[in-house]
Every structure is written in structure tokens, then in C-alpha cells.
Symmetry: C2
Subunit: 331 residues, 2 copies
Amino acid sequence: MPAPLIDGLQYSNWGEPIFRQMRQGGVDAVHVTIAYHETFRGMVERIEEWNRWFARFGELIIPGRSGDDVRLASDTDRTAIVFGLQTPDPIENDLGLIEIVHTLGVRFMQLSYNNQSLLATGCYEQDDSGITRFGREAIVEMNRVGLVVDMSHSAQRSTLESIELSERPVAITHANPAWWYPARRNKSDDVLRELADSDGMLGLSLYPHHLQNGSGCTLDGFCRMVAESAERYGVEHIGIGSDLCQDQPDSVVSWMRNGRWTRQTDFGEGSASAPGFPPQPKWFRNNLDLTGIAAGLTAVGFDDPGVEAIMGGNWLRFFDRSFGPGQDVPS
Amino acid sequence: MPAPLIDGLQYSNWGEPIFRQMRQGGVDAVHVTIAYHETFRGMVERIEEWNRWFARFGELIIPGRSGDDVRLASDTDRTAIVFGLQTPDPIENDLGLIEIVHTLGVRFMQLSYNNQSLLATGCYEQDDSGITRFGREAIVEMNRVGLVVDMSHSAQRSTLESIELSERPVAITHANPAWWYPARRNKSDDVLRELADSDGMLGLSLYPHHLQNGSGCTLDGFCRMVAESAERYGVEHIGIGSDLCQDQPDSVVSWMRNGRWTRQTDFGEGSASAPGFPPQPKWFRNNLDLTGIAAGLTAVGFDDPGVEAIMGGNWLRFFDRSFGPGQDVPS
């Protein structure tokens, strides 16, 4: 049986139409962002919303809390939904909330998102002071319960320190190598080598601001970057993390960038003249198009096991070894 | 193998000394109150505290989320801790929090505690208007996810309506029959017959205010009441729910009674001249004394299967059929 198809990050406008489209597109699992700048209580409301969807659309989606949930979804023609947080705001200043959010099904948490957080520095700050005191405690606790450290939006020093401090592999669920396209959100070769050396995972992004030539990036160009990445970091450390924000209104990208932290407008990777979501490349518009990436990988020379590994096999192995309890620590 | 020893309700001053004493006393499972008047967030802090205890005292206690957890605890010489809420305050005005608290391990919730709640009327109110509109929705949702309706502190009409509305058996985890001692918290024969007819469970209380002769109640007197209850309601519907508040300071009974809802002092079952916890009967002071009840039941004529059923076997069967998901409902 081929490996499942897994997308390592989406923040789409969820509901029945996309759930049905994921079935059409053969998407077996997707890591979905359930919260950005929400408090703990606000994040719980997002989970309540997912619980209503799980009850209502049980023939299309199931909770994805383990690799075996992904296998179950794949075997029963459904999509496993893996919860993740793009900022650590939902754990507030409370270490105990790490186990609580894990119990509620959360499996990825970014230590920082663009800005400084209580745990780490984000990639838009001027200075990167590295992992904080609370951040060190949080990494130990995340390792203990099985909540993956995700450094997609973090700054370089914080990212390198997190890889060193974490006893379990770290993920960068959605970013590309800076040597291919030097966006602020893309990652240096140093970071990606350390990530791979520690057996971490890189989810390659289809978000236009992370692509060479932006919305005009070609499938061939993207897949050649995947091939070069596989050569540098090992094919086993690479997956897809499309960062797809399907059917979202532009108000959502503004919430992602601005939360409640500014009275100005922060345009992030956009600009005042292009404040909204950028148009997707025409070969990657929605959840039907993931299979097209697989075809593109074959076209640039990957063999079948390589394509399957990148399109989901690697994420599945990562889920298997990351989502359960780790070594216990004295408490 | 004999049935496990299960206490259907305690609110003791938890920590290592009582965890060790429960092992000495052979207590295999206990339903513990984790919150009274707390908000959702406040209840989560109580669960965080239990999570720290589970990590630290893993050789003494484990989370009790199913009957099988109780069997595991019993087989490995530990105590399974079953979470419960004495008021519905932690679900606030939010139906979705019922599934959330269940996911976090909560297995019992009282629909009201002495006062009117958003769901039902408490036993100290002047008028009992029965199950509310939100209460009807909550019962359906509790049935769906496997959160037991507990009516220990509710008023009569509300209790009868809950038994009728609930498609799954209801529990009165800690109270005695009013025909034995007419305390406001004890239950009428009508209520107890309806409870038994619907296959519900009654946990008999050792709290002095619920006992004939209060702190002076004898073990023989208590056990004769158990025998009469078994005759009236069927031995299979009876367990122990001691309501033991071991080692609690009197400030705790004041919190239980007054929460944040009054500037006066409500003495509940106490009085201005006896505002604190009443002294326990000398034959039931702590977690070593549950086995003494078993001996008392034998002395008044119960056979071994009867004693085992009352001391834990009935609760175990109730846990088995109550804590998992029920019939799904359209959402």
C-alpha cells in the first residue's frame, strides 16, 4: 500500500466544501492551525467548533492524534485532522497548559510567531535573544507529553537553540530554504542542516511569498528545489507543509499578522499595495492539487519510494515517534 | 478475584499522605471532586494540579477514565482517580464545554449544587422549576459524550425530570434515603425508586449531616439502612459515596457553601454555632475505614457477592456502561 498523503500545514476556511474536496484530492491527513493569538479559552472555542464538525461530518474527517489515526483515516477514506497552534499564546504563562492542550488533541505548537513570545523570538524582531527561561521549561514539558516544537515563524538563533535544547526532533512545518528564495520566513542552510542532523522535519511551503517568482513559480522550479533539498538534508527529512489558506477572506491574513498587538497595520510578507493573500500558483490552488506535486516530483527524477516519503510517508513516521509521551522527567 | 473497592465521592485534602493511605486502605478507585464554583479556566487549573500529582506519584495513583482504568489500578496496586464537578459552573453557558471537560477526564457533573444553576434547581432553593432549556440540551450532550448526570445536591422535581430526560442512567453519588434520616440533602423514596427503575446508582453517604444521629451514628445503624435500601431499590443499584472531606480546613466547607454568590454566610447543613465540618463517626474517619464498612455489611447479613457489589462492583459496572460515548445525535 502506498504511503498516505499528508499536508504538514494548512489554515483553510474549514467546512463541508473543503472536507469533501480533501476526500476528492486523496488527502489522508492535514495539520490544521486552530489558533493564532487566542487565549486558552479562545483556543478551546476553536476545538469546540472542530468537535461539532467531527460529529457532523464523521464520514469525511476524524481527529488525528497519532500516526494510527492517520492510518485509520486512510483505510476508511477520511481525512485525519491534526491540531496545531501557530503561537504559544494559548498556553498563556502556564506550563501546565502544555499537557492540557495535548490532552485536547493539539500536536504542534510554534514557540513564536513573527514577534517575541514568552518562549522565543519571532522572525520579524530586530534582535533575537534566543529561547527564554520559560521557553526552556516549555521545551522540556513539550518533549515529555508529545507536543512538537514547530519553529516555522521563529528567528534564527531561537530556532538553532530550540533544536539543541529539544531532546525530541523539532519541525519546521511550513517554510522553504533561503538559498532558493531569500524570504524572511525561509530558513538558512545552517538551520536546515541542524534540523536534519537532529532528525527533524521540514515541510516545504507553497505559499507564494515563500516561492521563487512568487505566484509565478513553476511546478518544475518548485520540484527542482525539493530535489536539491533532498540532496542536502536527506529525503527522509522532507515533507510538504503547503501553508494553504484556501477560501480565506483577506481579513484573516490581517488577523494572522496583527492579532491584537498593534494599532498600526503590519503587512508582514505583503505590502500596503498588496495587503491581502497573494494569488496561488495556478498549479496549486486547493486540496485537489497535492497529487499534482507528486507527479511533478516524479518528473524531476524522484523514484516512487522517494515521492511517497515526501508526500506523506515521512510525516507519518514523524507523527509515530513524536505524538506520544516521551521520557518522563521529575516534576 | 473480588470486586475492586470504590468510593463514589470524596473531597479530601489531596496529596501524598492520603494517596499512601488509600493504598493502605485498599481503595482501588475514588470519584474526586475537582471543582465547585470555578470557571472553566479555574477547573483546568485543578486538572493541572492533578496532572502534576499523576506525574509525581505514578506509583500510587492513575487517571480513572474508564472501568478498565480501575481494573488496571487494582491489578497494579494503585488508586484510579475519577474526576467530577459538583456544580455545572465550569461549563459556563457553553454546551461545547461538555465534550471538552469529558476529553479532559471529567466523568461526573452535578446539574445543580444547592442553588439554582443554569441547568437545574438545587435542594436549598424555595421553588424548584425543574430542568431548564439549557439543562435539557446539556443532558442530551452529556449522554452523547459519556458524562454522568449527578443529582446529589439537586431539588426533587429537577431530579425526577433529569431521570426521565436522561437516556442513560443517572447517579446520586452521595446522599442517603430521607426515610432513614430526613436531611434536606437526603432523597425521597420516590426519587430513589425512579433512580433504581432507570438503572441508576445511589452512593450512600458517610457525611455526618446525612446520618441518623449525625456524628453519633453507629456502623450497625448505617449498615441496617444499607440493607433496607438494598431491599427497596435492589442491591445492584447501591454503592458507597462517602462524601469524605478528609483533612480539609473549615475554610473549605465555607467555600463549598458560599462560593462567590453571597456576602452573607450560608451555613448549609451546619449552623452559626457549628459552622465547620462536623466530626466523622469514629468508625469512619479516613481512607483506612472503608474496609470496616464491608465488615459491617457482612455483620448485618449480606453475603460476599452482595458486599462486593456494594463496595465497588456496582460502581465498576456503572463506570463501564456510562463513561464511553453514547448513541450519536444529530449536531
